[in-house]
């Protein structure tokens, strides 16, 4: 007899197979990771040290431990996956069991009496249930049960191949109702056959003069009324089954959705993000800096700024806490500043932070990006930060990161001439060089006596230049520091590739 568990058995089997595969691997991977981590101790116990260059054995041990930490996190995710498979299998099995009980479908269905006397010309309701396509009333004390069996068998039989249909509320219920209606029509056909046979029997009895015409007419009425009674029972059962099957389908869909939600929440694709967060924690210990860098690392160019700061911190003897500091006592939204190495952020700006909303740090992200660009040029080339072309570029990177964090396109950015001459805070929301020129009296010359005349490769004349400073993940080059005298009509946004979030090479004019 087909049950609801049979219907979902293919899914239950796969859930069990996935759970078993995960369980075995969890054990193997955990053991392997523990063994791997233990080698950390071995490195520290060497009689003759391994001659690591650069970061040395500590970095090696840190790499081993970091790998083991990440592995354990991955294994935890596999464990979450296994648990989700087990839960789904248990839920789906348990929810199906009540629907396999016949009594559920007999609520408020008229009982079918099995009473009969010796009158062979009389027709009784229960007789319609005797020819039940292989289901015998002798197998049950209640003839109605044979109807439940018949409908169930005609309905559930092929459903295990239609789980996708069942997992859609409308399609699933349409399928189930269609199957039940088909099963009822088959039963009705059988009942009508029996009804016809009884009429033929009575007509034969009349012809043989076993009964009179009046008697035939009376018994014929009984045949039809008992047929109607039997069909009323069938329809009532079918109605109950339709309701219950729909309930089962809703529970099945809910269990499947719950499983999907759990799998989605495992967050399996973010190991790299976890690794990056760990690196941030390792270099920057101020929770405000950590929160800011986590938030920035979620967007393409923000991640490059974070990588720059991480690279700078790991190569600096003073570390990340020296590179990014916080100052209290400044009014909010007054920006940030740097001294060529250290970036100072305003504590007041952090008051906007909402732990549940990384975009609450978007203003600070823009500020630190602006300053990071300037410290790069300062450290890599000794180019001063307080020049108008530098601010033109740095404000553009500010706009890139803030808009990317908000999930928006980088958007319009004015050409150099417009940016320099527009009054502060133009209505279109873009930044302006007005303040840099008129309030801060910045120079238009980023390269002292060289920059404006030497075009894209002037910086190569610099002594001690280090283009690969902090590995330059922001992809900056001095050729991006142009103005209208070095590149008439200079428009930095033309050298930005939004698809790759990188700056394109600047061709000399």
């Amino acid at each position: 007899m087909t049950s609801f568990s049979d219907v979902i058995q293919p899914l239950l089997t796969q859930l069990e197979a996935m759970s078993n595969a995960a369980r075995q691997s969890i054990q193997t991977f955990t053991q392997g990771t523990t063994t791997f981590r233990n080698h950390t101790n071995d490195v520290g116990n060497l009689s003759s040290p391994i001659h690591f260059m650069g970061q040395g054995a500590d970095a090696f041990i840190a790499a081993v431990n970091h790998n083991a930490d990440l592995s354990n996190k991955a294994i935890t995710r596999l464990s979450d996956f296994q648990e989700a498979c087990d839960d789904a299998k248990t839920t789906m099995t348990d929810m199906s069991t009540p629907y396999d009980r016949e009594s559920l479908y007999l609520n408020n269905v008229q009982y079918v009496s099995e009473f009969a006397n010796a009158d062979q010309y009389n027709t009784y309701e229960h007789q319609y249930f005797l020819d039940a396509q292989g289901y015998s009333t002798s197998d049950t004390s209640d003839p109605r049960t044979t109807i439940v069996w018949r409908i169930r068998e005609d309905t559930l039989g092929g459903l295990s191949f239609q789980l996708d249909t069942l997992l859609n509320t409308y399609n699933g219920q349409t399928l189930l109702e269609g199957n039940i209606n088909f099963a009822v029509s088959c039963i009705q056909s059988d009942f009508q056959n029996y009804q016809s046979k009884r009429h033929e029997f009575l007509n034969g009895a009349l012809q043989n003069k076993e009964i009179s015409k009046d008697q035939r007419d009376y018994y014929a009425l009984v045949v039809d009324s008992s047929y109607n009674q039997a069909m009323n029972v069938v329809n009532a059962i079918a109605k109950n089954m339709t309701t219950a099957y729909n309930d089962w389908d809703e529970e099945f869909i809910a269990a499947a959705n719950n499983f999907l939600t759990k799998i989605s929440n495992i967050d399996s694709g973010n190991l790299a993000q976890f690794q990056l967060d760990n690196k941030i924690d390792g270099e920057f210990h101020d929770p405000r800096t950590q929160a800011l860098l986590y938030a920035m690392s979620q967007c393409p160019y923000g991640a490059k700024v974070v990588q720059y700061l991480l690279n700078e911190a790991s190569s600096s003897k003073k570390g990340g806490d020296y590179l990014v500091v916080w100052q209290d006592g400044m009014p909010a939204n007054t920006g940030a500043f740097n001294n060529g190495t250290t970036i100072t952020l305003n504590v007041q700006d952090f008051n906007q932070y909402d732990p549940n909303d990384p975009t609450s740090l978007v203003t600070l992200a823009g500020y630190i990006t602006h300053e990071a660009v300037e410290t790069y040029y300062s450290q890599a080339y000794g180019i001063p930060a307080d020049t108008v072309p530098m601010d033109y570029l740095a404000d553009f990177t500010n706009q890139i990161v803030t808009n990317q964090m908000l999930g928006k396109p980088v958007g319009y950015y004015p050409d150099y001439k417009t940016w320099v001459n527009d009054p502060q805070n133009p209505p279109d929301g873009s930044d302006s060089g007005y303040a840099y020129v008129h309030d801060f009296h910045e120079s238009n010359d980023p390269g002292g006596g060289f920059g404006e005349q030497m075009s894209h490769d002037w910086w190569s004349l610099w002594n001690d230049s280090n283009p690969n400073y902090a590995k330059n993940p922001m992809g900056l080059s001095p050729s991006l520091l142009q103005n209208d005298s070095t590149m008439p009509g200079w428009d930095i946004s033309k050298y930005w590739d939004p698809k790759t979030s990188t700056f394109l090479p600047v061709k000399s004019h």
Partner: protein, 102 residues
Amino acid sequence: MRVTGFGIDPIPVSDLGDAIVGEAKDQWHFALYNLDALKSSLDSAVQQLPTTLLNTVQKFVGDFESNYTALLNQRIVIGEILENKVAPTAEAQEMQITDTFQ
């Protein structure tokens, strides 16, 4: 030769190198084999799932497999660094390790 690291006597570097490289070639590679086995078992089950569930589960399996493969490959890189006894340079060491995650 298995080196525990808990002995009183210091461990010769060559023994440690041999042990860890042995692990890299044996246990860590075996872990990759185990990962393949896991992936193949999961893939087989996933392919038979209803389409409604397929994509989400397939994404999890794919993400897990690529992440854990990166971690296992990183272990092999670490093993190779020890096998050579000398890390090429700090920068190269870092590059070799971090690049597997990009």
